[in-house]
Amino acid sequence: MAEAEKTEKTEGTEKKGTFVEKMGSVDRRIIFLLIGLAVLIPIIIEYTTAIPTSPLVQNLFDKIESLPPGSKVLMSFDYGPSTVPENQPMATAFTRHIFEKGHKLYLMALWATGPRQSEALIEDVISVEFPDKKYGEDWIHLGYKAGNQGLINTLLSDFTAMYTTDLDGTSIDEFPMMKGIGSLTDFDLILGLGSGFPGTKEWVQFAGDPGDIPVGGGTTAVMAPLLFPYYPRQIVGFLGGLQGAAEYEYALIKQYPKYEEKSRLASTSMGPQVWAHLVIVAFIIVGNITFFIERSRRKRY
């Protein structure tokens, strides 16, 4: 309460201050409002921007592109609904590419909230765009298992010790695409889509490195800096946040122009990113200018 009064008092004083002082202590609600507008307006006018693919993303794209048809790709959904705007466009772009190349897709999750996200992928992409792909032959949903990195550790030595059934409880022995899967080393590529622990980092540490299995994936932007040290020796490539997803979409469209209209989930969200960043950068510049001006005034008097 006392703090609120103090703030009001300060704000009252600043009304009488110079322009520089006002800019130096602008009300945080004005910043929120401007950020909100910078995000909302590009959504309304559907402003998009093309993001050229970086080597980090291109490497992963090339890896999937170079795998022979019928290769086994494991995609783990290690995120929840809170990071869907970042992770789901990655899953969508990967799935399109994997099926376009005729690979086999194995869906699983280290997070309990993961299967709901993979179900959304099945409803929105697999069922709609790839109805000819057969469950159990071209793709399978293995669901979530508890155990975090311990689960990966077990799967590395014995996959069927943990996964005896698919998500619906059907024995995996009934699915042709599960034949020959004894451990994680039987997969040609592991894609970890993560937003925290356990996630892509654990796939590198507990599967990729000890099993010498190619690992790639995508993470939220917050997690991305933690993965850079693994590239390129321990991780094939990865999508860092929404920008990474937009870069992958760009590579996909470049290689398969038929996705020009469909594959724009991340690209359309990059418009608000650009404008929101401009607003933030502007405030950082203004904040610094006012700081230095005020400091030089204090020194003078």
């Binding site: 809170s82 979530y144 059934t165 059907t170 932007a221 693994y230 946040g241």
Partner: protein, 235 residues
């Protein structure tokens, strides 16, 4: 599955979207100032999350990983694939450890819970130690021991490669020097430590930039949801 079927009806979907939109607005209202609507949404979120995780833990961990291993024949309606499996008596060990953990609730024998905790910590330490050592130390050191000069086809590409490798190797050495406190940071050693600070600052700056991008991505997702709700596109 029954719950999912109910939620897929158009009316239920529309109600779900409206509830989601109103709760999002209640949370956003905190940006103006704290208020009862925000508090309601926050408390609702905490309560629903706690209940959700408790249910998920019961059905995805306790039932398949413990009960189904000890009493597989009783899993008929819950986990049909477990019926017919052999009973595994080894799972009595985690059952006992799990029960011991609950002794924390009884102060007189609370010390027993330390046994279970010791097991958990021991397992985690043992599992993680070798993997972290291999992936985050040995291989990282190997990745830093790179040739500074390697022809890349064109002169510019070679210069770019060499510059990049110098930044990696030099950056790592300087950053490590900054954390070496057994020698005073003076002279050339001090200058290297100073460069180490810049390297760390650059890393923190990159992390901050990525964090901003992540938060704006999430805001974009919510704004997009609210906009579609407002124009009636998603309900």
């Amino acid at each position: 599955m029954e719950g999912q079927a109910i939620l897929t009806t158009p009316l239920a979907h529309a109600v779900g979207v409206w509830i989601g939109a109103l709760l999002t607005l209640m949370i956003f209202s905190f940006l103006y100032k704290d208020n009862p609507f925000y508090k309601f949404a926050e408390h609702l979120f905490v309560g629903v999350s706690a209940a959700y995780w408790m249910t998920v833990a019961f059905w995805t961990t306790l039932i398949p990983n413990l009960i189904a291993r000890l009493w597989p024949s009783s899993m008929g309606s819950v986990l049909p694939s477990a019926v017919g499996n052999e009973r595994n008596w080894w799972y009595l060990v985690p059952l006992v450890l799990g029960l011991i953990l609950l002794t924390r609730l009884i102060p007189r024998i609370a010390w027993l819970s330390r046994w279970a905790m010791a097991f958990v910590i021991g397992y985690a330490a043992g599992t993680n130690f070798t993997r972290y050592l291999q992936s985050d130390f040995v291989t990282q050191v190997q990745s830093t021991m790179v040739p500074l000069y390697e022809p890349q086809g064109t002169l510019m590409a070679t210069i770019g490669y060499t510059f990049s490798q110098i930044v990696v190797v030099g950056g790592v050495i300087c950053a490590v020097i900054y954390f070496y406190f057994s020698k005073e940071h003076k002279g050339s050693f001090g200058r290297a430590a100073r460069v180490g600070i810049w390297v760390l600052m650059a890393a923190f700056g990159a992390s901050f930039g990525y964090t901003v991008m992540a938060r704006i991505s999430l805001l974009t997702g919510r704004m997009d949801f609210l906009y579609n709700w407002f124009i009636g596109a998603n309900w």
